[in-house]
Symmetry: C2
Subunit: 366 residues, 2 copies
């Protein structure tokens, strides 16, 4: 069903980590990948743009924004020339800009499909933020458009470049906790302003699941190295709360995996969570916090002993920089990104099944 | 439906803890309650019997066992006279023994109902180990028998006498984590010998849920202070494993509570778990381990700060002694135990719903 066999990538003892590290070493002399950032919201401006300074093979050479003044200010800060500033109307003209190789789509979820497909048509590679889209159908269209254009499509799953999570994957594959049996994965934060786009279903596609739950879902999949074959789910949302008129607040879902491992995942917009624990027949690994921008800590329990596991060197100076450089390496080498469009599509299909189970109260087989 | 309103007991800011402490203070001069221990397995011999030394109002004055040599040896150790040793055939003759006020049933689960009902008929109060019985119907019969005899029935939920768990309840009721939203409760250990009675369905009534999952279920109920109104569940059991020919290995279930709080509970016989985390709108409380015989630790996170919360004084020297003395106090005062037969019955009804949901793959409303 999918372009790459994710189980194949993940199963063999930290192959993902190894692949990322190898990509780093092998492509040191590759031509830099020149990105246009599409959308200048908080994450783009405050988290991603400063990260180009930590990159080996990535540059920012274009900006796309609906706010010309903001775009000009940021362009000046990062040395982006006036001619490489676009808005959402003239965006397709990036096709004619030889200084832009790729776009990084950091827009509200509902715009991911359109701006990915327009970029592919303009002959540019695409890094697109998670969740990939509002629906699996959109995700399929995005994959098809990039394939047709012969361009790479990568999803912004930064945690696949985070040393502690990569170490947890490696330790589990090496048998550090025996046979994996159970994963608890929790992500959430307390939403404030009800007018945020994330709380408008048409823009976000969903509530805490689309935004934060996808981290829990990803953790369950990359820690197990398996694809779930069944899901059951339950939501808890106070519809009288102005924040939650349109999207779900708390959602819990359980994934069954072919090996017999079970994951209980959840996300919330009314409580703060950032915790993952994987328990096997001989111990557990605990990431607490698991996926925050900094401070991620891995602990390991075997027998009666609990210890903090020091983070090994990661595939880049930061997970953000490693992510940006990974697409550069893939463009240079012709390889598929380890977090491809197909990987994003798998999540979208599971997310649709989670919502279906929550709605019907029944197990949904995958 | 129930004799006491558990929500009433728990709702008002650690009323449970307060009640236990008050019971302790108020009944210091009560006549000691004289127990016969029914069943001399590991828990009775190694955990409970040594605890009488820590009790204020409880004595051991009788033993019931199928192994006369073992019974004589233990009787000598604890000063129990020969005439107060019984076997499972002449057990009903405890009716004629004025030195026995109560029995503590520590037998395989399938025997709880019979030995509770026979004790009630013999005019003795009953402390019965968890799970109360194999079925809700048996639990109802046990309650009816004790009521008919005018005798107390208490279930061996020792955690209701454990200072850290009592403190967690109090803190949640006082709003220490804001509005409770989610509980993760995990209990389990790795089963060894496939011949153990706990792995025989006729004796145990069920697998990890009956034995360890009941701690997760209890934690969800006493931390929320609510009764669940829906459950969905999933099991994962390797039936080719000789340990799991008859009973379930891993089981995960999700409880929805009227307030909107959700609990993900699990138990396992193939991995070790002893962890409970309750997260609210302004922080979390974490018990890790949560319910072990010793070492229970409560942590609290508010804002960016995580701190270990020192255990306050408990209702007895140990949770085991406090449990034994609680029945003594209830007999002296005429009050219902805080962990009554009705409390055990509530768990049995939920356990039956959990198994039903796991079997059908559908949400079961409670």
């Amino acid at each position: 069903m999918d372009g790459i066999d994710r189980r194949g990538v993940l199963a063999g003892g930290g192959a993902l980590a190894a692949a990322a590290l190898a990509a780093r070493a092998g492509a040191a002399d590759a031509k830099p990948l020149r990105y246009a950032i599409v959308g200048l919201g908080y994450y783009a401006v405050n988290v991603i743009l400063p990260q180009f300074a930590n990159c080996r093979s990535s540059r920012v050479t274009g900006l796309v924004s609906g706010d010309p003044a903001k775009a000009r200010r940021i362009a000046a800060q990062y040395g982006v020339p006036e001619r490489s500033i676009y808005n959402y109307q003239n965006y397709d003209r990036i096709a004619d800009n030889p200084d832009i190789d790729a776009v990084y789509v950091i827009l509200p979820n509902s715009m991911h499909a359109e701006y990915t497909i327009r970029a592919a048509k303009a002959g540019k590679h695409v890094l697109c933020e998670k969740p990939m889209s509002n629906t699996a159908a959109e995700a399929e269209a995005m994959i098809a458009a990039c394939k047709r254009a012969g361009k790479k499509l990568m999803i912004g799953y930064r945690i696949h470049f985070e040393p502690n999570n990569l170490n947890a994957i490696r330790l589990i594959r090496e048998g550090a906790i025996g046979k994996l049996r159970f994963i608890d994965a929790e992500h959430g934060f307390v939403q404030g302003d009800p007018s945020k786009w994330r709380l408008k279903k048409a823009l976000s596609g969903g509530g805490s699941l689309a935004d934060m739950g996808i981290y829990s879902l990803q953790a369950a999949r990359y820690l197990s190295g398996e694809e779930p074959n069944a899901v059951l789910a339950r939501t808890s949302t106070d519809r009288t709360d102005p924040r939650f008129h349109e999207v779900e607040d708390l959602i819990q879902w359980t994934l069954a995996f072919p090996s017999g491992a079970v994951a209980s995942c959840m996300s919330s917009y009314s409580s703060a969570h950032n915790h993952v624990r994987a328990t096997g027949s001989s111990g557990w690994l605990d990431l607490d916090p698991a996926t925050s921008y900094e401070g991620i800590t891995l602990r390991r329990k075997t027998g009666d002993r609990t210890e903090t596991v020091p983070a090994p060197a990661g595939p880049g100076k930061t997970m953000f920089a490693a992510q940006l450089d990974h697409l550069a390496d893939c463009v240079a080498s012709g390889r598929e990104p380890i977090v491809s469009g197909e990987e994003g599509l798998r999540d979208m299909r599971i997310i649709e099944a989670i919502y279906r189970s929550a709605q019907t109260g029944r197990t949904v087989d995958l």
